[in-house]
Symmetry: C2
Subunit: 113 residues, 2 copies
């Protein structure tokens, strides 16, 4: 078994820096393919392909506007990453709490003497 495909795993889809750049472009609002091509200096097919992958994992949506297509960010789909990160925050906090408890215990023992 290899890596799950970039079209099915949000993490893998975001493993490519160019794709992150494309997504960053959409932070300020929806944009046409041409607008993205111009901002980043990437070829048009390249941008279209990255958008296709991003759409496959649901990170962007699009709708037609005349002969253009406007892509918009679907920030809700970032939750897998948010949740995954949250596990780590939680874990680190728990471990700090345990250290804290230990220190308090030491302190109480000191007071008892």
């Amino acid at each position: 078994m290899a890596r799950s495909s970039t079209t099915s795993d949000v993490f893998n889809a975001l493993g490519d820096a160019n794709r992150r750049d494309v997504l960053d472009t959409l932070i300020t609002g929806e944009k046409s393919v041409g607008a993205i091509v111009q901002r980043l200096s990437m070829s048009q097919p390249q941008v279209s392909k990255h958008l296709r992958v991003l759409r496959a994992v649901g990170l962007v949506g699009c709708h037609a506007d005349g002969r253009r297509r406007l892509y918009r960010l679907e920030s809700a789909r970032l939750s897998p990453m948010r949740d995954w990160l949250a596990k780590y925050e939680q874990a680190v906090n728990d471990r700090l709490d345990r250290v804290d408890d230990y220190l308090k215990e030491l302190q109480q023992q000191g007071e008892g003497q």
Copy 2:
């Protein structure tokens, strides 16, 4: 130019689900390679290779303990992902704020009449 290597880009390193699983294993504290192999059902070389990648990007550290090697999580190295995500939270909030301002403006105009 292709993707930046999995040994130099945290995002790409975490694009592999097995590697995320290995990292998850370390949340509760440092562990030997053997312990990880046993928890997940992966081959030993496979785990060692994934740990090598994780070490290359700084997500884990290790120190020798007899004939074993104990790996520990370096959660600080997750900040690239945290920062990147934060941009999106911020952006979404800003856009909501703007909508909010717009609604208030409409409301004031209504009151003026």
